[in-house]
């Protein structure tokens, strides 16, 4: 499973980072960085939570 970011859609709300800080973070400029794109089964729940919380639907699992 992979986590995919629709970059133009992302507005840097950072709610995904709050849900899954091990998987992603906002950098100094407020741009989202995916720290882990390949999602293991152990992280699937966290990845799901991050996808769910994005208010503009910029993240998805593929």
């Amino acid at each position: 499973m992979r986590i995919v970011l629709d970059r133009p859609r992302c507005e840097g709300h950072g709610l995904c980072e709050e849900a899954a800080p091990d998987l992603m973070h906002l950098d100094e400029d407020g741009e989202l960085v995916l720290d882990r794109e390949e999602i293991s089964d152990a992280d699937a729940a966290l990845a799901n939570a991050a996808v769910r919380v994005c208010p503009v639907a910029a993240l998805r699992l593929a």
């Binding site: 507005e11 709300h13 950072g14 849900a19 400029d29 407020g30 208010p55 503009v56 639907a57």
Partner: protein, 393 residues
């Protein structure tokens, strides 16, 4: 594809008693079905959490074009705005709109918003008793948005009326809408004639005009952007800050939880938004026959999204009628979701978090009298909230 028609209710969604206290009606509609047809308003309402969230994410089936308002005049007036467009046009309009509203663009404003909120709350604690909607709920957003856009003079004084009218006219063509159109028209006229020099140097508003002059955004869009900030961002934020005060007064043990653990501030705002949605109903149009929850929403149907009904859906939230800051409902529907998800939510959060932090830091006991509500078509807010006692922490 099913041909089962949705259940029907004789409810009038914009009746005075429903607008003032919609939650019993929301519960009844939700029990009938995820989609209910209301002949009185000629709309199909979406009532359950999953149904609403799916529809907000599916712009191809539920279009915003000519459909977010409940009368043809307002839909015509909003043509060409981000709110009333679908991708791909929407994507471009939204980029211009959010360039100045994204959390990274707003970072520089946090300190001044925190300071404003803290000074207001300090002053009110010193007074001890006051009317809280004018004293806090309106005072903060009006000051913040006025400074953001760079308003000066008479425009500042008009912001409250203009912002209220801009939301009111989204409703059906009732008396409230008819009375508000001329006022919403004043806002529209001002926005179509405003020029860079009218706005304070260094303000975000001035920056939008500079972006237009540089060609970063299309010609003649600066005024429209400012129109949307004022139309969408004033009345809603005022409602949410009034709700913060009223809900903390009614649930002192919840304020105590935030006082003991300030990291609950964002969770508390999420719960305030979930519990009392500032936006009552918002429109879409079915572009095709759509099957929702086993029933048919026919092509062309005017749809009304009931954010507040979804927020209290027991299929999604346990014990939904309880106000509990600890539940942190990050996925509440009050800002919408998906392509049109509120573009100003970063700013609304900055303001509301500043208020909750100041209250948690400075206020011990909060006693209020009965809240006064007046029916309004779209924004559900408290009109007057007498604070009888606000004692220091």
């Amino acid at each position: 594809m099913t041909d089962t028609a949705p259940p029907i209710s004789d409810l009038d969604l914009f009746d005075d008693t429903v607008l003032v206290d919609p939650h019993p009606s929301y519960a009844a509609l939700r029990d009938l079905g995820g989609v209910v047809h209301l002949p009185a308003n000629d709309v199909h309402v979406l009532t359950r959490y999953d149904v609403i969230r799916n529809a907000l994410g599916d712009w191809e089936s539920f279009s915003s074009a000519g459909a977010i308002g409940f009368n043809p005049m307002v839909n015509a007036a909003l043509t060409g705005t981000s709110l009333a467009s679908d991708p791909p046009v929407h994507t471009q309009l939204r980029a211009a709109l959010t360039a100045n509203l994204s959390p990274r663009a707003l970072r520089g404003l946090k300190d001044s918003i925190d300071a404003k909120a803290d000074a207001l709350v300090e002053e009110l604690v010193n007074k001890g008793s006051f009317e809280a909607i004018d004293g806090l709920a309106r005072a903060l957003p009006l000051a913040v948005v006025a400074d953001l856009i760079g308003f000066t003079g008479h425009v500042r004084a008009n912001m409250l009326r203009w912002g209220q009218a801009a939301m009111q006219v989204i409703g059906p063509m009732n008396q409230r809408t008819a009375e508000s159109f001329p006022i919403a028209g004043e806002l529209y006229d001002w926005c179509s004639t405003v020029a860079a020099e009218d706005l304070a140097p260094g303000s975000v508003g001035r920056g939008i005009f500079e972006a237009e002059a540089r060609g970063d955004i299309p010609p003649n869009t600066a005024g429209h952007i400012i129109h949307q900030y004022l139309g969408a961002g004033v009345d809603t934020t005022i409602a949410s800050i009034g709700n913060i005060l009223a809900l903390f007064a009614a649930h002192p043990e919840q304020l105590a939880l935030v006082r003991e653990n300030p990291s609950l501030v964002p969770a508390a705002f999420n719960e305030v938004l979930r519990y009392w949605a500032p936006v009552h109903a918002w429109g879409r149009r079915a572009t095709r026959d759509v099957e929702v929850d086993g029933v048919l929403v026919p092509q062309g149907a005017q749809v009304a999204i009931l954010f507040g009904a979804g927020n209290r859906d027991p299929r999604h939230y346990e014990d939904p009628d309880a106000f509990l800051v600890g539940r942190n409902p990050v996925d509440h529907l009050s800002f919408g979701y998906g392509p049109h998800g509120c573009a100003g939510q970063g700013l609304a959060r900055l303001e509301a978090h500043a208020v909750i932090e100041a209250l948690a830091r400075r206020v011990g006991r909060l006693v209020v009298g009965p809240e006064v509500r007046v029916p309004s078509n779209i924004t559900r807010s408290i009109e007057e909230l007498p604070v009888l006692k606000m004692a220091p922490a």
